[in-house]
């Protein structure tokens, strides 16, 4: 814990009573401790910034406040009174409103209907549309958006407009604490200005805003105090924004308590042949002009924030998205379009969302492993399940997939073993290029080292590996070379040894401030 110099804290201490206080919040999920003692103290009329890396526990914390999760331990006080936030409705009734990153508005309803969703103004079951419209107009005016008509369909509004509707909904419930999860991520610079103005007006009215952002510059402009969480714990609370240098913040966010064990890097020989060559690849507004080379035996990592375009780069190389510019070459030959061409050429993707993009959850493991190869084992269209099982078993053994059964449903496997099943799919296929998107997401700490070793072994066997992770230490520890992606552009490309977590964070945060 870093304590704030009390004298300095006093300067802003006009309202001594905290509005919201969280003490020792613990949230235990089966197999994972998402929060491990979080303290937070929010005063009325302040913008309290919550800072932490991906996976630090910010979203879980928000969900506890929003009533979506129940804390395992710890207490929440509102006006110094202990409260229980049993469900999202309870949170709203207590005056705690949450603006999620994925704006939870209903596109098919009007602005007024959205704002009064769940607490419709009605008499005898008949909605009082004119009252709702009038109140909506008032709230929108207060938010500085009198031009949005209460009768407009929300789906026709841009992201910024939807955010306003979300905010208006919070105000319609007389929220005293508004939690905003990366609200500026979806906005352009002008819209960000307006958002900041609104936040300032809210705080002037005594509303407390808990503001989550990765943009340090924004935090400097807007924030009053900062709480930093890391690995589910509060590492510093109530730092004054004005007095805390950026260096200090990054140090607080990065200093790790969980040490990852990464395999040795044998070093890629200088003359190793380039296998995957990407040149000037672009996908509309998502990313532009990305060039990279992966050689045989090399692991290249892409580091960047969520939304920076990392996953899209992998999917575009793979042909799952149609690039708008640039070329992808495999062993010097230009790759045809579409996933099928990539797979046929020997490129395999382990997608970010294993369950929704990777696996047939209700099918046996061996059929998941042979999903791209069953036709190859077949003769004249007739499946050879014996050969499929044998190939699957071989990989199950080689990757130490547990339980070592080919016939269990994929659903029953743990995250780490599901990941192994996906890797096994491409090993059976004989892929020489592996694209791994968040290979350790949802994999517990013990199994992570195993996945890292596996990936390194595949590279040692001559595979070219391109890996994306939102955990910077993972990219730095695993990869031979690192590309830093910020706002859809590669802002750095160099050996992993030459850059540290601090520098990467610096790059992605500065880059996205524009």
């Amino acid at each position: 814990m870093v304590d704030v110099d009390p004298q300095r804290a006093e300067q802003r201490d006009e309202q001594p009573l905290p509005l919201l206080r969280m003490r020792g919040i613990v949230k235990q999920f089966p197999g994972a401790r998402a929060l491990d003692g979080v303290d937070l103290e929010v005063r009325p009329g302040e913008v309290h910034c919550l800072l932490g890396q991906n996976g630090a526990g910010k979203s879980t914390l928000i969900k506890v406040l929003a009533g979506a999760h129940q804390p395992t331990e710890g207490e929440i006080l509102l006006d110094e009174e202990p409260v229980t936030i049993a469900d999202p409705v309870a949170a709203l009734n207590l005056g705690i409103a949450t603006i999620y990153q994925e704006l939870d508005v209903v596109d098919g309803l009007t602005v007024a209907e959205n704002i009064y969703l769940g607490h419709e103004l009605a008499r005898g079951g008949v909605t009082r549309r004119s009252d709702a419209a009038r109140n909506t107009r008032e709230i929108l005016k207060r938010l500085g958006h009198p031009e949005i008509s209460p009768h407009r369909e929300v789906g026709s509004l841009p992201a910024a407009g939807k955010q306003i509707v979300s905010l208006a909904r919070a105000l319609s419930r007389d929220a005293r604490v508004v939690i905003m999860d990366e609200p500026s991520a979806v906005l352009d610079s002008e819209e960000v200005e307006n958002l900041h103005r609104i936040v300032r007006e809210l705080t002037a009215d005594g509303v407390a805003v808990v503001y989550i952002s990765h943009r340090l510059e924004e935090i400097r402009q807007l924030g009053d105090r900062i709480t930093v969480i890391k690995d589910g714990r509060t590492v510093a609370t109530s730092l004054l924004v004005a007095d805390t240098p950026t260096d200090e913040l990054i140090r607080l966010m990065t200093g790790r308590s969980v040490e990852y064990a990464f395999p040795e890097r044998p070093g890629v020989p200088e003359d190793a042949a380039p296998v995957l060559e990407v040149e000037g690849l672009g996908l509309g507004d998502v990313f532009k002009d990305v060039s990279l080379t992966v050689r045989a035996g090399e692991i290249v990592g892409l580091a960047g924030l969520v939304g920076s375009g990392r996953s899209e780069i992998l999917e575009t190389i793979y042909g799952a998205r149609r690039s708008t510019s640039g070329t992808v070459r495999l062993n010097g030959k230009r790759l045809g379009s579409g996933v099928h061409a990539a797979v046929a050429a020997g490129i395999g993707l382990c997608p970010e969302e294993r369950k929704s993009q990777g696996l047939l959850l209700d099918e046996p493991v061996y059929r998941n492993i042979t999903l791209s190869t069953f036709a190859r084992f077949a003769r004249g269209g007739l499946l050879d399940e014996g050969a499929e099982r044998a190939a699957a078993r071989e990989q199950i053994e080689a990757l130490d997939l547990r339980p070592a059964s080919a016939d269990r449903d994929a659903r029953t496997l743990s995250g780490g073993n599901q990941q192994k099943a996906l890797l096994a799919r491409w090993l059976v296929h004989g892929c020489r290029v592996l694209l791994l998107d968040e290979p350790t997401r949802g994999v517990d700490v013990g199994a992570r080292a195993e996945i890292y070793n596996l990936i390194r072994r595949l590279a040692d066997d001559g595979a070219a590996v391109l890996v994306v992770s939102s955990e910077i230490p993972e990219v730095l520890g695993l990869a031979d070379r690192v590309l830093v992606i910020s706002d859809g552009r590669a802002v750095h490309d160099g050996p992993a040894d030459d850059i540290d977590e601090h520098a990467v964070l610096d790059l992605v945060m500065e880059g996205s401030a524009a």
Binding site: A320, V339, H340, V343, L360, L361, E363, L371, R411, T412
Partner: protein
């Protein structure tokens, strides 16, 4: 619920119906003639349900099968088709019906796979259009097959005492079982139904496969039209009315997941037999067909409720 238990439930339901039939109908129910009648009447729904099983297993739906049966029966019984059949042989009628079904199905497939129109809407449109075209061609008249005795010689024969149309049902069902369980085509179908995105990212060409699936469903509708032509000796634009609902009901009651990812031909056959036996029990007892419809509705709801109950229990125990 394991597949064995599911099948056990269906067999039990079928036996229950048979017992009711025996008790209420006695000899009239158990006679060989009545059994072949049940099977003959089940043949059209049965054959079309096999194609439907594939479509539903892949996560799709084909509402157009009844209308396609009507169109194929009309096209295969026009005067010009009949003349050609007299000149070249009975197979002209068969090929025409199958071709019409296949083409209608492929049109569905193109619109769904490449036009990205939801299957529900694309096949609903085909339902309207195919029946409309059938009415237009026939001028809303029933077209009687005349002077094509070789056609009837083939399709009204009874090898081993069993009508040819029942044999067709048996062969199509067996071929469907084989295709779904033993071939790459079947594996792709299940994979796409289970997780289309994962299948796409694994390199399966899901658009092309979707096209084939609706083509297959159209083809089985064409076979259904041949059976109807043989049984009723005429083509009609009212053939196959509401057949889409009967087939979907049989497929889902049989245990194929409406959401896709799991399909069973055996279950579909049992589902078809349950409904046709039910109809027969009502008919031989001279009961109101409206009551029969109510019983049918109850069976559908009951079967799906059971399915969901088992599915939720399965999920609860496995995660």
């Amino acid at each position: 619920m394991g597949p064995a238990l599911r099948m056990g439930g269906l067999v039990f339901a079928l036996i229950l119906l048979v017992v009711v039939g025996v008790v209420t109908g006695g000899d009239r129910f158990v006679s060989f003639g009545n059994v072949t009648t049940i099977l003959s009447l089940a043949a059209v729904t049965g054959v079309v349900s096999i194609g439907m099983t594939f479509v539903i297993t892949s996560g799709g739906i084909d509402l157009s099968v009844g209308a396609v049966v009507a169109l194929a029966s009309i096209w295969a019984s026009t005067l010009s088709t009949q003349y050609l059949a007299q000149d070249y042989g009975w197979w002209v009628i068969v090929v025409t019906a199958l071709a019409v079904g296949l083409v209608a199905g492929l049109i569905n497939g193109v619109i769904i796979a490449y036009g990205k129109v939801p299957a529900f809407m694309a096949t609903l449109a085909m339902l309207a259009a195919a029946r409309g075209l059938a009415e237009l061609i026939a001028g809303r008249r029933t077209q009687i097959l005349e002077d094509v005795d070789p056609f009837f010689d083939v399709f009204q024969a009874r090898p081993l005492g069993v009508p040819v149309i029942v044999w067709i049902f048996v062969v199509v069902a067996a071929a469907g079982w084989f295709l779904l369980n033993r071939t790459t085509f079947g594996r792709r179908t299940v994979a796409i139904g289970g997780n289309p995105e994962a299948s796409r990212l694994a390199g399966i060409k899901i658009k092309r496969h979707t096209l084939y699936l609706y083509g297959l469903s159209g083809l089985t509708a064409g076979i259904g039209a041949v059976i109807l032509l043989a049984r009723t000796t005429s083509g009609s634009s009212t053939h196959g009315t509401l057949l889409e609902l009967d087939t979907i009901a049989a497929v889902v009651v049989g245990g194929t997941l409406l959401a896709g990812g799991r399909g069973t031909i055996t279950g579909t056959v049992l589902g078809v037999l349950i409904f046709s036996t039910l109809t027969n029990v009502f008919v031989i007892n001279n009961l109101d067909s409206s009551v029969q419809a109510i019983a049918k509705g109850a069976i559908i709801v009951g079967a799906v409720l059971l399915q969901q109950w088992f599915a939720s229990r399965e999920k609860a125990t496995s995660t």
